[in-house]
């Protein structure tokens, strides 16, 4: 069990690093938007021959990475919404069982299918050298599309980590400091 929990800790640490990179995309996004807006309204040319279209496309690129790098991590931080109405009155044991069942029956198949369907979608984009629909936009659209694979793989990893923790919780072997990230604190 200890070694399994070590795996879980390693996954959480990896997700944390991914999420950190994703999260700073939020600040970058704010800066890019402001830069685009101010130069456009002031009529100042942009540096490096960038166009407004490129900047606006990079805005949803940044937002996409802000999403795909953080969604999995958010599960390990218990940031995803749950319907608490009944759950509040359940014992910890039942909560762990729901978590195990949910991860095995819903989360893992979902993330597997998502990643598996996204793969050919990304490959097609890569081999065809797909670029933005607008002439002055960004190239290499496959990089953005590969975000879908990242999204589902990270969700799957988060699921595996939470599965290990929940099983440990059922066996009564989950350290207290990991309990809040598994079934949430009592709020």
């Amino acid at each position: 069990m200890e070694s399994a929990l070590t795996v879980s800790r390693a996954i959480d640490a990896f997700l944390w690093v991914m999420a950190k990179m994703g999260a700073w995309c939020a600040l970058l996004l704010v800066l890019v938007v402001t830069y685009d807006v101010t130069t456009r309204y002031l009529g100042v040319p942009k540096v490096f021959g960038l166009t407004s279209t490129m900047l606006q496309e990079s805005e949803y690129w940044l937002h996409s990475f802000l999403i795909v790098l953080v969604v999995g991590y958010a599960y390990t931080k218990q940031s995803h919404v749950r319907i608490d109405l009944i759950r509040e009155n359940l014992s910890d044991r039942t909560k762990y069982m729901i978590e195990v069942a949910g991860i095995l029956l819903a989360l893992i198949p979902y993330s597997f299918l998502g990643a598996w369907l996204s793969w050919p979608y990304v490959v097609r984009s890569f081999t065809s050298g797909e670029i933005s629909k607008s002439q002055t936009g960004l190239t290499d659209l496959w990089i953005l599309k590969s975000g879908l694979i990242i999204l589902f793989v990270l969700i799957g990893l988060a699921g595996i980590s939470q599965l290990i923790k929940s099983i440990a919780g059922l066996a009564g072997r989950l350290p207290d400091d990991m309990k809040a990230t598994t079934i949430g604190g009592g709020h």
Binding site: A23, V33, K77, S79
Partner: protein, 488 residues
């Protein structure tokens, strides 16, 4: 009708049932979508090839979408204003300015809720923030608990309606309408509700002043000059910021995404001003009593510039982290809901809904009230995110077909409908015994505040909400006039 035709309906039954397990909604949506996809394949209703367009749906709907990019930036702006103390200072300032008005503390909460509507856009988070900031001082001043909590719950939820509301961004996206137009349409309904709240508070406290003892005259700056400085530092900057963000959208100068970005940067600058520049100049933070009213003290001023910069960096970093997680929560759900709705459609869900609705023969008004009633009940259990993402796509084709004749023009129906849903949802979040804004409030309220008092205090506000809703139903122009004048 065979079981196969009913599969989309069973999908919703299964979803509703499984959601109550308390497993994260995003994964339940994905799991139910997947499960019914498999059933569809086994029953020969679906072909596996149909699954392969799912990635492009998610890509087009969630990733390659410049409109939704506004959401993390609005969340960023609100969180930054909150964590840098700008929101707290604004509330303190309003409380001091209104100390001679009947119900001044309660009024300042409503005004703050109106100005900082964007604070987070997530009901739980806004109600909690407002409760932590305002409730302790109201309890300390012996405010009537029912009035205090009613005001906080109603003002804290007003943010889903008043722009820049992220709920309206998502609604506009799902209904394929302009975010800017929907924002403008929400202005008057939002202001009417805020005015109704304030009218109620003033009249109630004027008749019975013991409900709302004013804060002590000894608090805050005493001289005219002191008050002017307070207004300049705590009131003017956030109001100008929000005014610019909204003004540029309402005036059609900037898209919501552009306004959100500039607004977020403005919030960072305000935070820098509040956390680094003002303390460096030796300006002391004015504080009101109450456990959460004072976080910054003379010790902050005494620290070195370097320490202040570190403190600022930590704040920004915390805002970035919390924005990323809120955004991930919203878009994790978005992806799950895309998955779910795709399978729902592929199984013939749209046709089932439309044929069922036609079979009921309700007419547009009947349908409108049916949908409002349905959303109202759903609001007892789910936040607006689940409701808009799951239910709205199902009913979108019907809504676009509604014909109210001369009452509302065909083009405007969708905007009007979205505003009605927003007011309706807010009412639902406030209605006892389920209204979950009330639970969030209870969770962070001082122990002497009882849930019965919260229930009693919210009822007048629920009545005001229903009155506001009726007004907008009877007079659609309340929502539709301003967009026509400003934007067309």
């Amino acid at each position: 009708m065979g079981i196969i035709e009913l599969l989309p309906l069973l999908m919703f039954v299964a979803l509703a049932f499984l959601l109550f397990s308390g497993f994260p909604v995003a994964w339940v949506l994905g799991g139910v979508g997947l499960g019914f996809g498999l059933i569809g394949i086994v029953a020969d209703e679906l072909n596996f090839i149909q699954f392969s367009t799912l990635p492009s749906r998610i890509f087009g709907g969630v990733m390659e979408n410049l409109i939704l990019t506004a959401i993390p930036m609005f969340v960023f702006m609100g969180t930054m204003l909150e964590k840098s103390g700008v929101a707290r200072d604004l509330l303190n300032c309003l409380q001091i300015l209104m100390r001679r008005v009947p119900g001044g503390l309660a009024l300042s909460v409503t005004i703050m809720g109106t100005i900082l509507a964007a604070t987070t856009g997530i009901i739980g988070a806004s109600v909690i923030m407002m409760s932590l900031l305002a409730l302790p001082i109201m309890v300390e001043r012996k405010y009537d608990h029912a009035l205090a909590t009613g005001t906080i719950a109603a003002s804290g939820t007003l943010g889903i309606l008043i722009p820049p509301s992220i709920m309206l961004v998502i609604m506009a996206d799902l209904l394929s309408r302009s975010v800017g137009n929907l924002f403008v349409a929400a202005v008057f309904p939002g202001l009417i509700l805020a005015t109704l709240y304030m009218g109620y508070i003033v009249i109630r406290c004027w008749i019975n002043p013991s409900l709302a003892p004013p804060i002590s005259e000894a608090l805050g700056p005493q001289t005219r000059g002191g008050i002017a400085v307070m207004i300049l530092r705590s009131f003017v900057p956030p109001v100008i910021l929000i005014g610019m963000v909204l003004g540029s959208i309402l005036g059609g100068v900037a898209t919501p995404t552009e306004a959100a970005g500039v607004g977020a940067l403005g919030a960072i600058l305000l935070g820098f001003f509040n956390l680094v520049i003002l303390p460096s100049m030796g300006v002391k933070d004015f504080t009101l009593k109450g456990p959460d009213a004072s976080t910054q003290s003379a010790t902050v001023i005494a620290t070195s510039l370097w320490r202040k910069l570190v403190q600022f960096e930590r704040t920004v970093s915390g805002v970035v982290d919390s924005t990323a997680q809120t955004n991930a929560m919203i878009f994790g759900l978005f992806v799950g809901a895309t998955f779910f709705s795709y399978i729902f459609r592929a199984l013939g869900g749209d046709d089932l809904v439309i044929s069922t609705v036609e079979a009921m023969g309700l007419g547009p008004w009947g349908l409108l009230f049916l949908l409002l009633g349905l959303v109202f009940v759903l609001g007892f259990f789910f936040d607006w995110i689940e409701i808009t993402l799951i239910v709205l796509p199902v009913f979108a084709p019907i809504i676009a077909q509604l014909d109210f004749g001369d009452h509302v023009s065909r083009f405007d129906v969708v905007y009007w409908f979205a505003i009605l849903i927003a007011i309706n949802l807010q009412t639902s979040f406030l209605t006892p015994p389920f209204g979950f804004a009330l639970f969030y409030l209870k969770a962070v309220a001082p122990p002497e505040v009882k849930i019965q008092q919260i229930y009693r205090g919210i009822i007048p506000f629920v009545i005001l909400q229903l009155f506001g809703l009726t007004l907008v139903i009877l007079f659609p122009e309340i929502a539709l006039w301003l967009p026509r004048v400003l934007l067309n």
